[in-house]
Amino acid sequence: MDGVHDLGGIAGFGPVEWTPDEPYFSEEWERRAFRLGLGGTGIAGANGGMFRHSAERMDPAQYLDSPYYEHWLTGVTTLLVEAGVVTAEEIEERAGGPFPLSRPDRGRPTDTPTDDRTEARFGVGDRVRVRKWHPLGHTRAPRYVQGREGVVVRVDGAANVPDAEAHGGGFVKNPIYSVRFASRELWGEGGSDGEAVHVDLWECYLEEDA
């Protein structure tokens, strides 16, 4: 999903508001939202891909404007409502006001593998191109690499394809690679020499670069 969560390269956010050290939870509600995230996804019968996508589906302005653990709260609560564990009315009544939830899931487990595959098709040094498919649902192929050429620098083991997992396609194993992209391949004239970005990508995201 080409949403605002897919932040690589988006301009306009200003300087990093760095802190030398901070507690994991600066307010008590953050700790409770974290705890809810740990427990709530399973209660909703959801998996990790569904959990990630539940936050990606937040209203874009809310996503960008809210503290991080509000993503967890909104995402998990959306999954719980969608699973019928709780109702939107119930939580709003209890909260004493509107409780924004994420938008409906538009993803489908199409264009993703249905059979496990653990043997790597590509090797280190192979040139690959990321598929350009801009799915409406969850994916872990950032928009800024879709359609771009890179070189495999590491072959990792196989793991479940998030795109399938998040949209009812089940747990389908597929190899993962670290692919190196030159900055200028990604950002053109706006890129820089001497900078490279490595992105971890499932094999089903990649095509041979002819």
Binding site: F13, D59, Q62, V86, G96, A141, I176, A196, D200
Partner: protein, 196 residues
């Protein structure tokens, strides 16, 4: 548009969904508190610092760490969620490594703990892959043009730890004393030169 003004306070929203799940008998907060407490007490950058210090003093460990990080880190007793597919990337005089998660907030929990707010915020996530040298300079870490910057976007299962360079003049220090020098930021890659 839904203005935040009209929304129930975040504390009330968290309390509401939590209370309903507890009343339905679905959420065991006491059991979850044990896990959260474990994260708070046992995880953090001091773990990663021990890994780095060991690699500095033990060349064979360093080799194992670079070849198979998850197992090498487990030797020191660290592992678990968000740390079971580790890769360590090594800084050299010619290379600087920087870790980011553009899509969300992936971070090596066992060795670094839970990520700081800025790591999860849009400014860092958007700029790290687009203008890393400028971003680092703004954060006080000047990387000269003769050093290649390698950004690692942890978009799949692997979680990255940067192995910083051992500071000069630390030949006499013990492994424990070296670990004290290793910062969280140097293991993310937003700091390069460690000081004694």
């Amino acid at each position: 548009m839904t203005g935040p003004d009209h929304v129930a306070p975040i504390e009330a929203r968290v309390a509401a969904i939590e209370a309903i799940l507890v009343e339905k008998g679905l959420l065991d907060t006491a059991k979850l508190d044990e896990i959260v407490q474990h994260f708070e007490e046992d995880l953090g950058p001091r773990n990663g610092a021990k890994v780095v210090a060991r690699a500095w003093v033990d060349p064979e460990y360093r080799q194992r760490l670079l070849a198979a990080a998850t197992a090498a880190i487990a030797e020191l007793g660290f592992g678990g969620p968000e740390g079971d597919h580790m890769v360590v990337v090594e800084n050299t005089p010619a290379v600087h490594n920087l870790v980011v998660c553009t899509l969300c907030s992936c971070y090596p929990w066992p060795t670094l703990g839970l990520p700081p707010k800025w790591y999860k915020a849009p400014a860092y996530r958007s700029r790290a892959v687009r203008e890393p040298r400028l971003l680092l300079a703004e954060m006080g870490t000047v990387i000269t043009d003769d050093v290649e910057i390698r950004v690692w976007d942890s978009s799949a299962e692997v979680r990255y730890l940067v192995l910083p360079q051992r500071p000069a003049g630390t030949e006499g220090l013990s492994e424990e004393a070296l670990a004290v020098l290793v910062t969280r930021d140097s293991m993310i890659g937003v700091e390069r030169q460690l000081t004694t």
